[in-house]
């Protein structure tokens, strides 16, 4: 009988129920998309490995480190492999075609980043050819690049037009791996700079270290920095996660606003759903008085009201969750350049479910309290 009452009450004001459902659905969808944006923002952090440390100039990332540090870092106790690289900052045809591009020492870099899956034959060609580059699957798809294509980047940090031959297309080991990056040979960049008699030769943006034991990462980082203390280019070594979080921190204010908006959306829909439930309950106070007159207790009424509220919230919430997936795909199509890793995580779905549940419960609290507390005589007096 209780379920029957809940369902039939839901259908009493189809328009009101429908609009509330739509509102919750849109709110949960918006909440999910905003949470996905936040997740995408942290994608680099999530993808970082506990085994990897990053060493950079302690003043700022914009200040380079000398290549001569390589052997000294390699000799530090606890360091297994060392690679290095520079942000290349090249532009493909025009600025709007932005993608991340790095000049790296390819052999050690691919060894450190085993999550980039590159076919062995392509890897060998890439390692042999100094003008070669490799790109991620998504980036190749975006510009319709194929292995063997000649790609020209316009340098912004390193002036001039730079030509590369695409020798490989990597894919990520899992969905967290960024498949929209471009890698070229650091040696090719350095030799070209030497030919141009540039002051930027033999300079490295960052060193990437793998440690034998992640539990000793902090001590290893300390050892590296100790070597270069009081030198003209002091270093700052941190875990890859901390390094990535440093980038996220630069945009913390934006992230805070997105987080705030995602919660405001939920609070607004809570108020809307509570208003809708209050209207329904106010209209039915006389009926609830009849239930109480017949001997039904507050628990029965509370279950009836909460059941109705939860049903609307969870149905709307389910719709919102289901719509988040195609909406995220559309979002990715338009903003994929800025969010290379953009997918709805399990955690986001759980948050969406919890938000819908919270909306359902919160919307029912006041109306339930009112219907349970109101004296029968007073409620019956509202009839007719």
């Amino acid at each position: 009988m209780l379920l029957r009452l809940v369902f039939r009450n839901l259908l009493r004001h189809k328009l009101r129920t429908g609009l509330t459902l739509c509102g919750i659905c849109v709110a949960i969808l918006s909440f999910g998309l905003l949470r996905t944006v936040i997740s995408a923002w942290y994608a680099g952090v999530e993808a970082s490995s506990a085994n990897r440390l990053i060493t950079r100039n302690s003043i700022s990332l914009t200040f380079p480190l000398p290549l001569s540090y390589l052997e000294r870092i390699r000799g530090v106790e606890g360091v297994k492999t060392v690679s290095y690289g520079n942000w290349f900052g090249g532009i493909y045809i025009e600025e709007k075609n932005f993608f991340a591009n790095f000049a790296v020492e390819p052999r050690t870099y691919l060894e450190l980043y085993s999550e980039y899956l590159l076919p062995e034959d392509q890897k060998q060609v890439f390692l042999r050819d100094r003008r070669a580059c490799i790109v991620g699957r998504k980036l190749a798809k975006r510009f319709d690049w194929k292995v063997g294509d000649l790609i020209t980047l316009r340098g912004t940090i390193f002036p001039g037009n730079w030509e590369f031959v695409l020798r490989g297309i990597y894919s990520g080991r899992d969905s967290r791996v960024d498949e929209s990056q471009f890698f070229l040979h650091w040696d090719y960049l350095n030799e070209s700079l030497k030919k141009r008699k540039s002051v930027m030769t033999d300079q490295v943006g960052i060193y990437i270290l793998s440690v034998a034991n992640p539990e000793h990462a902090a001590e290893t980082a300390e050892r590296v920095d100790r070597i270069f203390r009081n030198s003209y280019a002091e270093t700052l070594t941190e875990t890859e996660k901390a390094f990535q979080l440093g980038f996220v921190a630069l945009t913390e204010a934006i992230l805070m606003v997105i987080q705030l908006v995602s919660f405001v959306v939920i609070v607004i829909i809570m108020a809307v759903a509570a208003n809708s439930m209050s209207m329904s309950v106010r209209e039915r106070l006389g009926e609830y008085a009849v239930f109480k007159t017949l001997g039904f207790g507050g628990t029965y009424l509370a279950t009836m009201i909460l059941g109705e509220s939860l049903f609307i919230a969870l149905l709307g919430g389910t719709g919102g969750v289901l719509l988040t997936f195609p909406a995220a795909k559309i979002f990715l199509n338009y903003l994929g350049d800025y969010f290379p890793v953009f997918f709805v995580t399990g955690q986001t779905v759980i948050f969406q479910g919890l938000a819908a549940l919270a909306v359902g419960v919160a919307a029912a609290v006041l109306p339930t309290w009112r219907s349970v507390r109101i004296p029968i005589i007073q409620a019956l007096g509202r009839i007719g």
């Binding site: 009988m1 039939r8 207790g297 029968i376 005589i377 019956l380």
Partner: protein
């Protein structure tokens, strides 16, 4: 002839309401016995306290002082939750505006009080069928209240009031919202319930025609039981 016992006993009952800091006495020193099987009409002008007295007897409201015994139970000593349980098995309610649940069919409305009992689904169905048969609405059991006339809705309400076989039936202006023919039908049904099923019915009414159907009549004036004035049909015409 066998002497009937009092099923409702009110002793020195007082009730007042507080409105804006003022205390308004509604019932004063009411002492009244209602015999088992009686069909009693409670009359009086508006604001005389009839509905308040009915609500107190039915356990919907609490008295300021005095005792109310119904079928041997002093309901003034019961808590709100105990009263709810007591009402479920001892009182059947008939309201002026029927107060059926609009989203439930006639059958489901009558079944509603039985949800709180230990009866099986089959037993509940049998009880509901018997109650609807009693009010001659078995062919309308699948209709929703909105699909029934006022008289039919009130008959469903009577079936709902009867279905748990309560000790007393209380009716607050049961014909107040009905046309004359429907009112007559409902009153005849209540009369039959009292005579044939031996139900004790306490009915609040303004309508002298309705009061005439009752076997006894009490008159309230300014919260005090008074001797009844002469009832004239012209009053209700």
């Amino acid at each position: 002839m066998e002497e009937k016992r009092a099923i409702v006993e009110l002793k020195k009952l007082f009730k007042s309401y507080r409105r804006g800091g003022q205390i308004l006495p509604v019932l004063s020193d009411i002492t009244l016995d209602i015999q088992e099987g009686d069909f009693m009409a409670l009359m009086g002008p508006s604001g005389s306290g009839k509905s308040t007295l009915l609500n107190l007897i039915a356990g919907l409201d609490q008295a300021d002082s005095g005792t109310i015994h119904v079928a041997g139970v002093d309901i003034t000593t019961l808590s709100e939750s105990e009263l709810a349980v007591w009402r479920a098995s001892n009182v059947g309610f008939i309201f002026q505006f029927y107060n059926l649940i609009p989203v439930l069919t006639a059958f489901e409305n009558v079944e509603l009080p039985l949800i709180l009992t230990d009866l099986s689904k089959k037993e509940r169905r049998e009880h509901v069928a018997t109650a609807l048969n009693l009010v001659k609405l078995e062919d309308r059991m699948d209709h929703y209240p909105g699909q029934l006339s006022g008289g039919q809705q009130q008959r469903v309400a009577i079936a709902r009031a009867m279905v748990t076989d309560p000790a007393i039936l209380v009716a607050d202006e049961p014909t107040g919202d009905l046309d004359r023919a429907s009112a007559e039908e409902v009153l005849s049904l209540m009369d039959r319930l009292s005579r044939e099923a031996g139900k004790t019915i306490i009915m609040v009414t303004h309508d002298p025609r309705a009061a005439r159907k009752a076997r006894t009549m009490r008159y309230l004036e300014k919260g005090v039981l008074a001797s009844a004035p002469e009832i004239s049909f012209s009053q209700s015409a």
